[in-house]
């Protein structure tokens, strides 16, 4: 299983994400934002948290125009997997690979704390280790995690069972308590909470370890010949 983690100059969760993928058994390569291609054989691309290009214009907006994001788009269009966490989710909405946008938190403050999440669907590689309706705890750490989508987009997300995680106690004003969503082909997940920060006992929680193990198994299964 080959994971490629994108590294923008202001990424700061790239190492954390790489570590969680490695701990789950993936072979990980870091990919610089100026590169124009992903490593050959990449199964899944991780878009990490951080502040990609300083997030001065709009979170993820400049990153979405970077050379490596062209390669990411090609990968996704070919049916490749991608996971965007926090700033990575913002990048995925800015590239248009996921619908909607992440606005400033409703309380206008940066929030860093563990939150309870409900698994809204287990029907994708990302959440296949969980049961639908199960609750997990991951930390959040963001200033702009208030998910917005217009009513049609929201209706489509629900109708197509593409809401992956919901906040049990909405911390940031997100529409319909949405914490993470899937692409139409269910192979791209964007989420604000950080599973890589809850992946081992020393971090105070292990719910995220199952996420990465399940993800690698799910991706492997979908790649296996029928």
């Amino acid at each position: 299983m080959k994971a490629a983690i994108l590294v923008f100059p202001g990424s700061n969760c790239d190492r954390d994400l790489a570590q969680a993928f490695r701990a789950a058994g993936a072979e990980v390569q870091m990919v610089w934002h100026k590169d124009t291609e992903l490593p050959a054989g990449t199964d899944i691309v991780g878009v990490p948290g951080g502040f990609s290009y300083g997030d001065y214009l709009r979170c993820g907006a400049i990153a979405a125009q970077s050379p490596i994001c062209k390669a990411l788009r090609t990968h996704v269009e070919r049916g490749g997997y991608a996971l965007g966490v926090c700033n990575g989710f913002q990048v995925l909405t800015e590239t248009g690979l996921l619908p909607g946008a992440l606005l400033r938190n409703a309380g206008l403050k940066y929030i860093c704390k563990p939150v309870r999440l409900g698994v809204a669907t287990a029907d994708c590689a990302f959440t296949c280790a969980y049961e639908q309706g199960q609750q997990v705890t991951y930390p959040i750490a963001h200033h702009d995690g208030n998910y917005f989508a217009d009513p049609d987009q929201l209706a489509a997300l629900w109708a197509e069972d593409r809401v992956a995680f919901r906040y049990v106690d909405n911390p940031n004003g997100s529409a319909a308590d949405i914490a993470g969503i899937l692409s139409a082909n269910r192979r791209v997940l964007g989420m604000m909470p950080h599973p890589e920060r809850a992946a081992e006992p020393a971090q105070g929680g292990t719910d995220g370890a199952a996420f990465f193990r399940g993800l690698l198994a799910g991706v492997a299964q979908s790649a296996a010949p029928a």
């Binding site: 700061n12 403050k109 940066y110 860093c112 971090q203």
Partner: protein, 721 residues
Amino acid sequence: MTEPQITDSLIAAHGLKPDEYARILEIIGREPTFTELGIFSAMWNEHCSYKSSKKWLRTLPTTGPQVICGPGENAGVVDIGDGQAVVFKMESHNHPSYIEPYQGAATGVGGILRDVFTMGARPIAAMNSLSFGEIGHPKTRQLVHGVVEGVGGYGNAFGVPTVGGEVRFHPAYNGNCLVNAFAAGLADSDRIFYSAASGVGMPVVYLGAKTGRDGVGGATMASAEFDDTIEEKRPTVQVGDPFTEKRLMEATLELMATGAVISIQDMGAAGLTCSAVEMGDKGGLGVRLNLEAVPQREADMTAYEMMLSESQERMLMVLKPELEAEARAVFEKWDLDFAIVGETIAEDRFLVMHNNEVKADLPLATLSGSAPEYDRPYVLKADTGAADLAPIVQIDPIDALRALISSPNYAAKNWVFEQYDTQVMADTVRVPGLGAGVIRVHGTDKLLAFTSDVTPRYVKANPVEGGKQAVAEAYRNLTAVGATPLASTDNLNFGNPEKPEIMGQFVGAIRGIGEACQALDMPIVSGNVSLYNETDGTGILPTPTIGAVGLIANADGLIAGEVRDGHVALVLGETAGHLGQSALLAEVFNREDGDAPRVDLQAEKRHGDFIRSHKSLIRVCTDLSDGGLALAAFELAEAAGVGVTLDSADTAQLFGEDQARYLIACNFDQAEALMIAAGHAGVPISSVGKFGGQSVRMGGSEAPLSELSAAYRGTFAATFD
């Protein structure tokens, strides 16, 4: 461009006293140029020269087998075994934060992070000790919002977890808030980078962001009292860019790995001037700068402006010339400026050229080494040990506790630290809130614990005991998570040292800090002095913040459990019921009288060692400090959502602030074993109550935990949202 004439008022505007100017004339044997006057002013202000404090700083213990590098470099370096070192320092950004809270606090964080990665260490933890004026003061709310957002805005984007700190409120900070930023980094102990230049004719390289006019004269501003012209000082505050700092950090660490760095220095206070002079002076060399090569953000900058600019996110380096191409490639990769702006020279000379014109030509070693040093007169508060304490009426303990936890000084601080990223880097083991923060050393089983402490009321009442107490509390906070204290950094915030009573606070606090660091084996390895924290002649409470770092050699040694229903509450240490200068007096009775509690350093050491050698029996532990047993027991209970019953109903027993004490929670069998072990070791220990149920009981008084918890957790939001 012609430079202004040197006049008496120009000299005064540079913060130079007439006798100091006379000294300049003596050193260079002629009238200085305008640029030279600026350079002297930058090097000789209090902030950069430590001219009032140097004499006393020299008395602090700074060595030990664990110390790789003590004070004098950008940060202290301490051995943590396995060829690794922790590099740390605490530094104030008080004056800028009061003038422009967001940028002042943000660049305070930026400056301290730069100090750490300049030494070759990747920052792994940050803390902030913040002191604000009283809640009702018209500026407080804006300062709290601005400073907290600024600290978070910079640290979160840079990507360093904030794992600890303090937030206090007191009217003495109404005109001067304090922002003390701490950062620690991790390095290989044989890959530490220092500032001393070596070799003649080596290129001096400018790295990072471009130079603008921001912060010109900042260090001089930070060495003056405030008055009603404060709004005019806003342009002296710099503007921070954490995105550039993050790139500068990555590029600097990559550059160091190429072997191209001979010496390196960050541009902090007094930017290019201080960094160039320091590298030359430490290496016994001269420096020639060609300012036209400096990357500039604005047009037509003068030599004076470039030499005094405090633009952020810049470094100066002496480069191995044969590796220039490799070094340049690293900075191009990160889209940062890399410019050769001068060279090292054999003569003792600081030669500043701009477009082939000599703008400054000064003897470098003298410029650096001959900063004035003052032995300012001081009056040390009489240490009679019996400062008057008016009688204290008994008060319902639950009412007293409720009052304490409803004050922002003792309420939960989640409102503050949840605005900081406490977990980036994925190695945070213990977040801020209760005692020391703990970080895992990446890829190892070792843990590092961090704390920052001081009780300014104590220092004011009794500078020597108050100084000791700050160190002792840091020692206890590290001990309570199972760590062995390694070393400390001191951030000494005081008023105007030209007043003998303020100087007396400084001298006394240093004496206490020194004695405690010696006795508890926590040498001072770095630090910073901030004086002139006064507005219109009124000074702050003396606030010598102690930042300290401890090591837990393997993760099993961490004490970080939660209390459980049925746990016994034990107090280790002697309770006499000292209420002078206590939180209870200040918050409940609005009184600040009596003496500070005495600190018995031998008892501190004995009790700390006892905790560390009986970790197998102790899963929950916290230090007792302000607020005494009642507050500590409540905090442990509240964190776990379990009630607590304390046997005593006596105000002094419950709220007394005697030192060298810990509260331990454990099951009955462990309690028995601990009592026996303590008996053998001659360490006082007593059972004071038990945890369980859903209410807080003290003596005959009781309240539901949920009600107290709501007050404790709601105070900040109610006050500041």
